[in-house]
């Protein structure tokens, strides 16, 4: 920390004459070089994000013909169908699954992130590596691996065999889907929380103890509030993609309960109703934008 006195600020204010103001203004305008460097990123964004989204939007107002081809005839039918109770119920269920898996990720992920964050040098690096290694394998393959573990004659049941009256019926149930979802998204929760924990000043915890807070109170009064940005970031990274997840329900859930991701996928494949799928997609996008905005606002409020 540097030595400070009340006069410092006054001195700075005096020193910041017109000359300094001009310097600040110049510093914020991007130079030509900066613009050129940004150009590829902007181009990528336009081609692969903005343009497809625009196409999606256009399709959502179109109609389809006998064979399932898109016909450019304006209609609001697709959006009317979106708000059909059948599909609303699926949206709600998808959000519920996503919320539940996010909550589980927080509960499971926070202790892990906390332990890693408080660990020393090499131990910490190794633990981080362990968290990230699964990413080196394809997500689909890892999901298939769960089938091998959870099936009736799978690893889990063979391990628990002596202690069970009947084999555990886990595969093709909502439980399996939840396991798959939590497993897939856990690292996305652990890493941001770890980032917050790492920045946590150890002396704050000591100060809290010193002032009479037991381990639980320290956790709730100091640790949680200060790691909230990490938790918020993790929640965003987990909740939103989880709503649209369809591979896990198909593979681990036996495709029994369609989630919004499955329904949208179905429109583009089996049902051959692209405009309706596009409408569902647009509504989903709007949901995402709202969730993002809400969480960002909360995160910004917490920061000084």
């Amino acid at each position: 920390m540097h030595g400070e006195s009340g006069t410092d600020e006054a001195a700075l204010a005096a020193a910041a004459g017109t000359k300094d103001r001009a310097a600040v203004r110049h510093g914020t305008r991007p130079s030509l070089a900066a613009r050129l460097l940004l150009a590829p990123a902007v181009a990528w964004l336009t081609i692969f994000v903005i343009a497809p989204t625009a196409i999606l939007l256009v399709y959502s107002f179109c109609d389809r013909d006998e064979l399932g081809r898109v016909v450019f005839r304006f209609t609001l039918d697709n959006y009317r169908r979106v708000f059909d109770p059948v599909y609303v119920r699926i949206f709600v269920r998808s959000i519920w699954y996503a919320a539940l898996s996010t909550a589980l990720c927080v509960v499971i992920g926070f202790p892990v992130a906390y332990c890693i964050g408080r660990a020393r040098g090499t131990v910490r690096q190794r633990l981080l590596l362990l968290v990230m290694i699964p990413f080196w394998t394809s997500f689909l393959i890892r999901t298939y691996a769960w089938i091998t573990i959870l099936k009736e004659e799978g690893l889990l049941n063979s391990l628990l065999h002596p202690w069970l009256a009947a084999p555990l019926d886990l595969l093709y149930t909502p439980t399996a889907v939840m396991i798959g979802l939590v497993y897939a998204y856990l690292p996305f929760m652990i890493l941001p929380i770890y980032g917050s924990v790492e920045k946590l000043d150890g002396s704050l915890i000591e100060a809290a103890h010193d002032l009479g807070a037991g381990p639980l109170r320290v956790f709730s009064s100091v640790v949680i509030p200060l790691t909230l940005p990490g938790i918020a970031a993790g929640t965003l990274l987990v909740f939103v993609p989880a709503i649209g997840m369809f591979a896990v329900t198909d593979l681990l859930g036996g495709a029994r309960v369609p989630l919004i991701g499955n329904v949208i996928q179905n429109q583009f494949l089996q049902a051959r109703d692209w405009p309706f799928g596009a409408a569902l997609g647009v509504v989903f996008l709007v949901l995402f934008a709202v969730a993002y905005w809400v969480l960002q606002r909360r995160a910004r409020e917490e920061m000084p």
């Binding site: 399932g68 269920r93 036996g254 179905n266 109703d273």
Partner: protein, 341 residues
């Protein structure tokens, strides 16, 4: 100057060579698990044409992707009713009979089908049915049809195809209704049956339904006859039954899309497939019902004894016809029922 000129000439030559090479390829869009690699390799070895295979798991997926454009396929493998829709929309190339001399090998029973009465656009590939597989080690009772499968005591022990139209047709069969008349009234009648059935199913899988049966996670399945045949080959405990209420018989065909770039190669491939010795290779790996009479003569007794491949008692079989926009109603009904769990 000279080195630069040489470089440019070389580049041009490579470019031309590249495009010339592109002509020697064939882009097939077919079912997953339907064309053996040996067959593809054999074709390439003989003709030098590289074969690129992309797969799908349902006719709707085929139609979806095909109509989306973008990829230009040379050969597709639609089922009868999908081919019917494509023919009606003028999206298939008429086939030149002179290029398909091996057509004479086909069993006439599989020709002149409703989807293509003059066999102008399609060539039969494989036929089959959708029926019931029973793991007789676990299920001791006789199973004759859909009603026997969907009993409360088999709750969570059933796998079915993840195909909305299939399931609706089984319900309509059970109700004694025609499977190709999809009206709101028919769907309303099928609704309670389907609702009850769906609550008993453990897995919906069109990609590889035999997996769940082999894993022992389910004891009964309503799957394609090819899958059932593979299961029977694996272990005779897996018996195949054609549902008494009525079953869907399908004929998968080969056809050439109207915008195909390598028509020639496609016709060559079709003729190649119609050779008995090649057709046998397909039957070896995918034991569906082979429409090639000459090939059947080359099959082993074991293969011909497979009840899924060559059912002794065919029962009441019906083909799917194209139903156009009525598919929307099916999709809505099934989504609704599935999500109601």
């Amino acid at each position: 100057m000279r080195p630069l000129k040489n470089t440019l000439l070389l580049a041009l030559a490579l470019l031309v060579a590249g495009t010339v090479r592109a002509a020697g390829e064939l882009n097939i869009f077919g079912w997953s698990e339907y064309i053996p690699q040996k067959v593809l390799d054999g074709f390439t070895k003989e003709t030098g044409i590289t074969v690129n295979l992309e797969t799908y798991a349902s006719n709707e997926e085929l139609l979806s992707k095909l109509l989306a454009g973008g990829n230009s396929y040379d050969l597709i493998q639609p089922s009868d009713y999908a081919a019917e829709a494509l023919i009606r929309a003028h999206l298939l190339e008429p086939l030149d009979p002179a290029r398909l001399p091996n057509r004479k090998n086909l069993d006439p029973a599989f020709l002149h089908r409703p989807h293509d009465p003059d066999d102008r656009y399609t060539v039969p590939y494989m036929s089959g049915t959708v029926g019931i597989v029973v793991n007789t080690d676990r299920v001791k009772e006789p199973i004759h049809g859909y009603r026997d499968v969907f009993q409360p005591k088999y709750r969570n022990r059933i796998v079915v195809l993840n195909d909305n139209r299939e399931m609706v047709s089984w319900a309509l069969d059970t109700l004694g209704r025609p499977i190709n008349r999809i009206t709101p009234e028919a769907l309303a009648a099928a609704r309670p049956v389907l609702a009850r059935w769906i609550s008993l199913v453990k897995v919906f899988d069109s990609d590889s339904p035999k997996t769940a049966l082999l894993n022992g996670d389910v004891d009964l399945g309503i799957v394609w006859s090819g899958e059932a045949a593979i299961l029977w080959r694996e272990n005779h405990k897996f018996q195949y039954v054609i549902p008494a209420e009525g079953a869907h018989q399908f004929l998968d065909v080969l056809a050439i899309p109207a915008n195909a770039a390598h028509r020639d190669a496609a016709l060559q491939f079709m003729n190649y497939i119609l050779r008995p010795e090649v057709s046998v290779l397909i039957s070896d790996v995918f034991p569906y019902t082979n429409p090639n009479a000459a090939a059947r003569k080359l099959l082993t007794p074991e293969q011909l004894a497979n009840p899924a491949s060559y059912p002794p008692h065919p029962g009441r079989l019906e083909s799917f016809r194209d139903i156009g926009r009525a598919a929307e109603g099916i999709d809505r009904l099934m989504t609704d029922l599935k999500s109601a769990r």
